[in-house]
């Protein structure tokens, strides 16, 4: 029997997987090979050491900690779903508003056509009445926008809308961070803090 084969059989023997015939063949080899019999002794000693090593057990109330973490994760995933819904709604709102903004910009830039100007003013008036709760400062700002050329006005509107959506998303992320007591920033970094106790070997 070759030593490499004997070594494999030793491993199987430790696990009680050798039949009688193979076991006898292995014993004969071990009796005649000093190197293999030395390895066999080390295998057995290692096996005894591993067999006698205790099972590590978690600190008390492990179940409670798992339940707590599960509840936290559920809350987090629920909040994440809500956040995606709100962000999706924001995007849809923006998409729905864009054509209106572009139309408005187009009307206002076509100054050569008096009916366009009238239509533009009508739209502005309607908008102003719809947002009656906005104070006069915003109204002044809006008037200032009217005096701005359309080529500047439309991109400015789009930029403001995008900024508003970004700020909204960012605020939602921050709210989530505080409510979940999970350090989460807009870049996705997370730091979880938990109590972990020392292993108590049985």
């Amino acid at each position: 029997m070759q030593c490499s084969r004997a070594s494999e059989l030793m491993s199987l023997r430790l696990d009680g997987l050798l039949d009688d015939v193979t076991q006898i063949a292995l014993d004969e080899h071990l009796a005649s090979c000093v190197r293999c019999s030395g390895e066999w002794e080390t295998f057995r000693a290692l096996s005894r050491l591993l067999d006698s090593a205790p099972t590590a057990t978690p600190a008390p109330d492990f179940v409670g900690r798992v339940a707590h973490r599960l509840a936290k994760r559920r809350a987090r995933s629920k909040a994440r779903r809500r956040r995606f819904v709100l962000l999706g709604a924001s995007a849809l709102l923006l998409l729905a508003t864009l054509p209106a903004i572009v139309t408005l910009g187009g009307l206002l830039t076509d100054l050569s056509n008096p009916s366009s100007i009238e239509a533009g003013i009508r739209v502005v008036t309607m908008l102003l009445s719809a947002i009656s709760s906005i104070n006069s400062a915003v109204a002044h700002l809006f008037s200032a926008f009217l005096s701005t050329p359309g080529a500047v006005l439309v991109p400015a509107y789009v930029a403001i809308a995008l900024m508003a959506v970004f700020l909204w998303g960012y605020t939602l992320l921050r709210i989530q961070t505080v409510s979940g007591k999970v350090g989460a920033g807009p870049l996705g970094y997370r730091v979880r803090v938990q109590n972990v106790q020392e292993v108590a070997l049985s």
Partner: protein
Amino acid sequence: MEDEGTLVQRTLAGDERAFTCLVETYQNSVYNLAYRMLGDAAEAEDAAQETFLRMYTRLHTYDPNRKLSSWILSIASHYCIDRLRRRKHGLVSLDDVVSWRWLPSREEAPEERALRGEQRDEVMQLLQGLPPHYRAVLILRYWNDMSYEEIADALEATQGTVKSRLHRARKMLAQRVASQRGRKGVEREDRRLVNNAVL
């Protein structure tokens, strides 16, 4: 006590007490596997918790024909191997960073503590010197008393692979022990020579 199949069904139906029962049943084997794999109590706690969370979220994929313990230990060992791989490549995510506080262990006589500590250190040192896949088969074999077939099921490997990994793991450990013995022998010889020279 209810059988595992019922507990799984109840957990799937949203019964948290059933899930708690499953955690209670398997907490020691999962924690022990994580501790022996990772070699650190705080990391083991975190990994064991994560294993049960994964078990909970993936329970609908569990095949009742499979042994539940093999399935849970499969989740645990894969998670630990993955974690060790990330650790090796320095890719420890902030999710893996854990803080811990040490609690005093139960009272033990100093000699008992020293002996147990020595044995624990020796076992842990030996295990930590093995590649993760080899470590996993040894742990499942010795601490979970699993057969080759069960280990193969847990690690999603063939029985031939398990047999070969177990053999290589033992061989590596034997070589390590032999080299340690050799080193200790040299150190003892050095000390003897120094003592003789002094005398």
